[in-house]
């Protein structure tokens, strides 16, 4: 007989206006197991987790905690039980320090009841150390990169001695090294008898870490089975409802002629003497460990980071990129990895977000032509399979993956000649990725140049015609064709030989 589960989810349903997010979902989580939860974007994973976190109340159905019926009315209720959660969307306080964020509401106090700053920073340093990062506990969160913020989110959840730790796509912004550290921590938690619910769209990770896999589809529970009984293909079939072949389209060859983009000796605070060429029809990958300049290079080429030395040429003409506007005028599009801060106006609708960089195209005499706008937006939303009740839906109400699809949509329709993509498929399900790869491929095929930064090495290698590896702000290697393998990239990125 199975022991009493730590948590059992019983017939949970939840609807939002126009959306049935969860329908009659039931499954159980055992103490000491890592329970993966997978499903397409908008399948209802985050909604279910928010119910466990006390953020949403289910319309019907109930929860049992060690056999006892429970009601979670607020995040505080859920924390009291020992449930800790890493939300998919970051919930950090930009104006506060890392330590203040990590131990928010749990600040160590002196005997006088004042904040014990030393203990606060020390405990945070310890927690960060467990993940082998050297983020300064006293750094302001607003100064951190997305990956660093993700680590802070993780540490924040670990700071609670949780019986059940929920991780909603914790690895979407992490590189393999960091993922490795995270898995080390998960193993330790597991050994201690805690349970972990792990949500990810990276199925290899799911198979590496989890004991049990639950699949959700369109708000319904499809299956819960031991990971050992499943194959990758089987999980995909249950998630998407069909078999997937040929994830990556065939590699493209550069089309020749004047390079679209040419960079000579570009340097700034974080970059050293970068030289590169991007041809029409080419997908150029930028690889490297987090913090070694890929992101900064991408941003400099869109006029966000300053360029101190060096030249940038587009179509053989020297250009000065001081503002995004300058870059956009040259036909450059830029997709940021920080969709919440830099990608979306969350309170506005899907249509308004998608239209924003394309307003000139949708307007005549400075007036927005609503028909054109609606038609184009509607079409891309359909192609990208953005799951939304309509194009007027405020973006903040979409699931994480669908928000990412929205940001992608706004740039894909902007008819760019040079696309700079940073983590384009962050949080996007396997099925949709295929479609996105196809679209990017199509754009390149039609004569655009693509510059891509991704911490998902498989994706980078699968799509790129060429890969540049950065280390400490400089180009450490250029790998093309068969020379570009996971090993060769990691070797160049770490600078370790043998």
């Amino acid at each position: 007989m199975m022991p009493t589960p730590l948590l059992s989810i019983e017939n949970i349903s939840k609807s939002f206006p126009g959306v049935r997010a969860l329908m009659d979902v039931s499954f159980a989580v055992q103490a000491g197991e890592v329970h993966a939860l997978v499903g397409e974007n908008g399948a209802g994973k985050s909604t279910l987790m928010k119910i466990l976190a006390g953020v949403y109340q289910p319309d019907s159905g109930g929860l049992h905690w060690q056999g006892q019926s429970i009601q979670l009315r607020s995040p505080a209720d859920s924390q009291r039980l020992g449930i800790s959660i890493i939300y998919q969307e970051f919930n950090l306080l930009p104006d506060l320090t890392v330590a203040e964020n990590v131990l928010l509401n749990r600040e160590p106090r002196t005997r006088l009841g004042l904040v014990d700053w030393r203990a606060l920073n020390e405990r945070t340093r310890q927690l960060l150390h467990d993940l082998e990062t050297d983020i300064d506990p006293q750094a302001l969160v607003q100064d951190l990169s997305v990956a660093q913020q993700q680590i802070v989110e993780i540490v924040k959840a670990l700071a609670i001695d949780a019986r059940l730790l929920i991780m909603d796509e914790p690895t979407a912004a992490l590189n393999p090294t960091e993922v490795g550290h995270l898995f080390g921590v998960i193993e330790r938690l597991k050994a201690r008898g805690s349970a972990v619910i792990f949500i990810s769209h990276r199925l290899d990770e799911v198979f590496t870490i989890s004991d049990t896999v639950t699949v959700l589809k369109d708000g319904q529970h499809i299956s819960t089975s031991p990971a050992a009984d499943l194959t990758r293909e089987e999980v995909v079939r249950r998630m998407v409802g069909r078999q997937l072949q040929d994830i990556f389209p065939p590699r493209l060859q550069a089309q020749g002629g004047t390079p679209l983009l040419e960079v000579h000796g570009l340097s700034n605070d974080r970059l050293r003497d970068i030289n590169l060429q991007l041809q029409a029809g080419e997908i150029l990958g930028l690889a490297g460990l987090e913090g070694h300049g890929q992101r900064e290079l991408a941003r400099a080429l869109f006029g966000i980071e300053p360029i101190h030395r060096g030249t940038v040429q587009i179509d053989g003409q020297r250009v000065y990129l001081r503002h995004p506007e300058d870059a956009m005028r040259q036909g450059v599009a830029f997709l940021s990895d920080d969709r919440k801060m830099e990608g979306l106006a969350l309170t506005l609708g899907v249509r308004e977000n998608v239209a924003l960089p394309n307003l000139n195209r949708f307007s005549r005499f400075m007036m927005v032509q609503h028909e054109d706008e609606r038609a184009v937006c509607g079409q891309i939303v359909e192609t990208m399979a953005v799951k939304t009740p309509g194009i007027e839906q405020p973006v903040r109400l979409l699931s994480g993956g669908n928000q990412q699809k929205t940001v992608l949509s706004k740039w894909l329709i902007s008819q760019p000649r040079i696309l700079i993509f940073v983590e384009p498929t962050r949080g996007i399900d396997v099925g949709a990725k295929v479609e996105i790869y196809r679209l990017i491929h199509q754009l390149a095929h039609d004569g655009a140049g693509v510059l891509m930064v991704s911490s998902d090495l498989l994706e980078l290698l699968g799509l790129s015609s060429r890969v540049l590896v950065l280390r400490e702000g400089a180009i450490a290697a250029e790998l093309a064709g068969a020379a570009a393998t996971e090993e060769s990239v990691m070797l160049a990125a770490t600078g370790v030989h043998g």
């Binding site: 950090l92 506060l96 009841g113 082998e132 006293q138 302001l140 660093q148 770490t494």
Partner: protein
């Protein structure tokens, strides 16, 4: 596998600077203003004048401290001025020469302030009405009550407040004028609360990102309620001080305090969107406002030119500060 060190952009030293840069700048501007004022008028640095400026600013400082708490949470409190007025009109009927009446008066001042704050806080948290509208409404209501008390209970609430009571707040303690303590002590306490207590950190958290703070399991509504109560309470104390200073009550006396306090707090570096700023900044903001007006008066500038100069100097001060403080 070897892990490469992540290049973290901020070390603790720069973090310290970042935190204090705004405060340092605003105090530098204050210093410049003081130097200009003392060069421009030989009357400025006289003990009498400094004492007067201190006495003039104490009420504003008290209100601004409370306002800082509210603004840090991205709220706003427009009702503080009418609380000051109401407290004054009530105290006239209460405070006599007897020490018991002083205790009662203080209790009434604090009580009325806290009560109005509580109403504000409840309306903001329970009714989910924007703080601007809530406190605009209570501003009107409390002002109405002050006028009512003033009109209808002339016989009870008339005359003046005991001089001895006035002395307690406006006299000197040795060589030091008491209003200085009226400013310094609450500033010290508020700075301690904001910087060193969990409650203080929660205020910053709330202003920085309310949703995230709620998801961290914090009772955000309780913190909000508390800041409005604090603001009301500080306004009550400002009312007490004002009555002691004027030995009377007047239903309009606090009218401009809400706006002035918000100005002082914003001048001191608190963002209207919450989450950023400090009490030391607020104190500098209060002092700048006061010294600016004192300087213009000492320089015999007529009213119409005073408006123009005051506006220009205000903008100029923040301009220097904004350019350096924010362009990163």
């Amino acid at each position: 596998m070897t892990s490469m060190p992540l290049t973290t952009p901020t070390a603790s030293r720069t973090r310290w600077l970042k935190n204090w840069r705004d405060v340092l700048l605003i105090w530098t501007i204050l210093l410049v203003l003081v130097i200009v004022a003392s060069l421009a008028s030989d009357r400025f640095l006289t003990p009498f004048n400094l004492e007067r400026v201190t006495a003039q600013l104490a009420a504003l400082a008290l209100v601004a401290i409370g306002q800082t708490f509210v603004l840090l949470t991205a709220g706003i409190d427009l009702s503080v001025g009418s609380v000051v007025s109401l407290v004054g009109t009530l105290l006239v009927g209460i405070i006599t020469d007897s020490p018991e009446s002083w205790v009662l008066g203080t209790a009434v001042a604090v009580g009325v302030g806290a009560l109005v704050g509580l109403v504000n806080g409840l309306a903001v948290t329970r009714l989910k009405v924007s703080p601007f509208m809530v406190t605009l409404a209570t501003l009107s209501i409390v002002q109405g009550i002050a006028l009512f008390v003033f009109e209808r209970f002339k016989d009870v609430f008339e005359g003046s407040i005991s001089r001895n009571f006035g002395e307690v707040f406006t006299g000197n303690l040795g060589p030091i004028p008491i209003p200085l303590f009226v400013i310094i002590i609450p500033v010290g306490i508020a700075a301690l609360v904001l910087r060193q207590t969990p409650f203080g950190r929660h205020i910053y958290a709330l202003g920085s990102n309310e949703n995230a703070t709620r998801l961290s399991g914090m009772a955000t509504d309780r913190v909000k309620l508390q800041v409005y109560v604090i603001s009301g309470l500080m306004a009550g104390l400002a009312g007490l001080y004002t009555s002691a200073r004027t030995l009377s009550g007047n239903p309009l006396i606090g009218e401009n305090l809400a706006f002035e306090s918000i100005t002082a707090v914003v001048l001191g570096g608190v963002s209207l969107m919450g989450g950023r700023g400090s009490i030391l900044g607020t104190l500098a903001g209060v002092l700048i406002i006061g010294i600016l007006s004192n300087m213009l008066n000492l320089l015999r500038v007529p009213s119409d030119y005073q408006y123009v100069l005051r506006g220009a100097l205000l903008v100029l001060a923040v301009m220097l500060y904004a350019r350096r403080g924010r362009s990163a």
